[in-house]
């Protein structure tokens, strides 16, 4: 029986409507665990357009089939195309990315895909030196990203692998991560001093 009263949820939606930020601050038995989720909205117009595009492609394939009567090649071509379409539109589509902060243990980063596959990465708290908000510049755009500086490694680790949420959503996650890593750092220095 879940204790629903202690489940506090904060939902913040933004004007562009593409991402939804959910902050799960569990009370009850899992008090220390703090989860932040970024959910990708499924825009109905986009889905509609995707269906139309698929239908058009199939119609094109049938057309070619009628004209050329080269069944083998056309069948192969449409299967391959269909496969790539399914892969990019359904399997690789990201439903949700989450950051679960467990203050003394570490941080778990999850990516939920459309095919039901979930990729999880765990970073122990001692490995994280600092979490930083970076401005990334590409030849066409400039965006904010959240990353970890890890002890002993020269590369930054991105928290959100696939998504690029806006900075307003990244800031509360960054603050929570900083708070968690700082408390761990204090306990780290205490243990080092005592040796």
């Amino acid at each position: 029986m879940c204790n629903c009263n202690s489940l506090r949820m904060t939902m913040v939606t933004f004007a562009n409507g593409r991402y939804t930020y959910i902050h799960d601050d569990h009370g009850g038995p899992f008090q220390a665990v703090d989860s932040h989720h970024i959910v990708v909205q499924r825009i109905s117009t986009r889905r509609f357009l995707v269906y139309i595009a698929t239908l058009l492609l199939l119609a094109n394939a049938c057309n070619i089939l009628m004209l050329k009567e080269n069944y083998g090649a056309v069948l192969l071509w449409s299967i391959v195309l269909g496969f790539f379409l399914a892969k990019s539109l359904y399997w690789k589509r990201v439903l949700k990315e989450s950051v679960v902060v467990m203050p003394t243990l570490g941080v778990q980063l999850e990516t939920h895909y459309g095919s039901g596959r979930i990729v999880r990465r765990f970073v122990p708290m001692g490995k994280i030196l600092r979490s930083v908000l970076n401005e990334c510049v590409t030849p066409v755009t400039c965006y904010w990203s959240l990353a970890f500086i890890l002890r002993g490694e020269s590369e930054l680790m991105l928290v959100f692998q696939e998504l690029r949420p806006p900075v307003k959503m990244l800031v509360p996650i960054w603050k929570a991560l900083c708070a968690a890593t700082e408390s761990k750092e204090n306990s780290y220095t205490v243990t080092e001093d005592s040796h």
């Binding site: 510049v137 590409t138 030849p139 066409v140 755009t141 400039c142």
Partner: protein
């Protein structure tokens, strides 16, 4: 105050005869121009201004110290201060390259930041240096990852840089775009895109260009297109203004003249005066055709023959270095001519203070900052009378000559005679009065205020200006 006509100069007298007009600072009182002290003083004043409870007592203490007068002037301007702007400086030329344009952008940005404006610099990536970097004073620099293709210029795809420029303009909430250097493709593209989006635009031209050769003709056409619609333009000397107005067809009312300046805190003269038994002439420049390296090859042996106690120090590198080495070999001047090779910017001052005279043999210059640096170090300058050089220094600090070897030799002899009357410290103090980056920033602020007061136009009005440049330009615009 009318910045286009400085009270001292007049356009007619600039063609090499008679008086030379120079462009001094507009602030009459002595001002702490050293950047380090300015940061401290302005920082303290900002606190006072924001925190009136700090009280009159502290203010009184500041006023009665030695730098009291200048602080009072700063308080006055700070309280009177106009609106603050958010400025985007765009150029292909910036740190980590060193040069006139790069230093100009850097020092101007630093002074504008101290005046309370927000400055962001946009340039292309240099090697590994790409992304966002912060420099002194919180100066944000965007190194966008576009590869340079020719002489440090970004590849000129007409609409390629539009997405990133638009993103930066919006996220930094820019109010005004300031482009530098006609030769920079990134600058032209940024100005064009900014104008289309309705931002106010200012352009600074740092060099003189010709009219006759193929490269210049193309460059001038591009410049006409970009400058057709710029709000205000700035040139670094009156000669440069004439050149820019002729090349680009800008109305002269839109062009302001604001000279460059020099960091007098960095370029200080030697502590003790050098003895005059051995006269040392210093040359620090890129050894290329434009900077008159060929003239040096003629002048140096002649001077060494006529004046036995003269030695030369040549700093800098370039394609003409080989010719200078050959000249040394041919006339056996190894002990009298020292070649230092490329001199890093931080060591230029130590090279300059080891000499008495600075020799500049450029064949064309809009404004020569090297001369300012030499004068700030207390050296007497000998230079060719080209471009904007006559406007830079007063008559008693510079000896001018035509860019022919015989005239230059005569000028060097005259300079050697003038040497005993020169006091390096006094020269340095005069330079501090005449030129300061803070003054350049104040004058640039006035230009920005003028630009922002220009009326907003809709797209059709803005487009009609391009009609004068032919159907191709307009059709290219419409395609987009």
């Amino acid at each position: 105050m009318d910045l286009m006509k400085s009270p001292i100069s007049s356009t007619g007298k600039r063609n090499g005869q008679g008086s030379q007009s120079f462009l001094p600072s507009l602030l009459p009182s002595s001002f702490p121009t050293s950047t380090v002290s300015s940061i401290g003083i302005l920082g303290r004043l900002r606190k006072l201004h924001q925190n009136p409870s700090l009280g009159l007592e502290k203010l009184y203490r500041h006023l009665t110290t030695g730098v009291g007068n200048s602080i009072f002037l700063v308080i006055f301007t700070d309280v009177m201060g106009g609106p603050t702007h958010r400025i985007l400086m765009v150029s292909d030329f910036f740190y980590p390259n060193f040069g006139g344009v790069e230093n100009h952008i850097y020092y101007l940005s630093q002074c504008l930041l101290k005046l309370g404006h927000w400055v962001v610099v946009l340039t292309h990536a240099y090697g590994n240096r790409s992304g966002v970097r912060y420099m002194t004073g919180g100066l944000k620099v965007y190194y966008i990852p576009w590869r340079p293709f020719l002489m440090q210029n970004t590849l000129p795809t007409f609409y390629g840089t539009l997405p990133i420029i638009r993103t930066i303009l919006i996220r930094e909430k820019i109010s005004l775009v300031h482009g530098h250097q006609a030769f920079s493709t990134l600058c032209h593209e940024a100005l064009m895109h900014a104008r289309t989006m309705g931002y106010k635009v200012v352009f600074t031209d740092h060099s003189l260009y010709g009219f006759a050769d193929v490269g210049s003709i193309h460059m001038n056409k591009v410049l006409q297109f970009t400058l057709a619609d710029v709000n205000q333009a700035i040139c670094v000397s009156h000669t440069s203004k004439e050149n820019t107005v002729l090349r680009s067809g800008l109305p002269p009312e839109k062009v302001f003249v604001i000279p460059n300046a020099v960091d007098t805190a960095m370029f200080k003269p030697a502590r003790s005066r050098l003895s005059y038994d051995k006269i040392i002439i210093v040359v620090v420049s890129r050894l290329v055709y434009r900077k008159g390296a060929d003239l040096l090859v003629e002048v140096i042996p002649e001077v060494c023959r006529l004046c036995p106690n003269v030695h030369f120090i040549i700093g800098g590198d370039g394609p003409k270095r080989v010719r200078l080495e050959e000249m040394r070999e041919k006339h056996s001047l190894q002990d009298r001519v020292e070649m230092l090779g490329a001199v890093p910017h931080a060591q230029v001052q130590s090279v300059l203070i080891s000499g008495h005279i600075f020799l500049n043999s450029s064949l064309t210059e809009a404004f020569c900052i090297a001369i300012l640096e030499a004068a700030s170090c207390g050296l007497l300058t000998v230079s060719t009378r080209v471009g904007g050089v006559p406007e830079v220094l007063p008559d008693d600090m510079i000896v001018l000559a035509e860019p022919v070897p015989s005239d230059m030799v005569w000028a060097i002899k005259k300079a050697i005679h003038m040497l005993p009357q020169i006091d390096p410290q006094e020269m340095h103090l005069r330079m501090k009065d005449l030129y300061s980056w803070y003054d350049v920033a104040r004058r640039t602020e006035v230009v920005y205020d003028h630009a922002l007061k220009c009326s907003d136009e809709n797209l059709l009005e803005h487009l009609s200006r391009y009609l004068t440049f032919g159907a191709w330009a307009v059709s290219r615009y419409w395609n987009w």
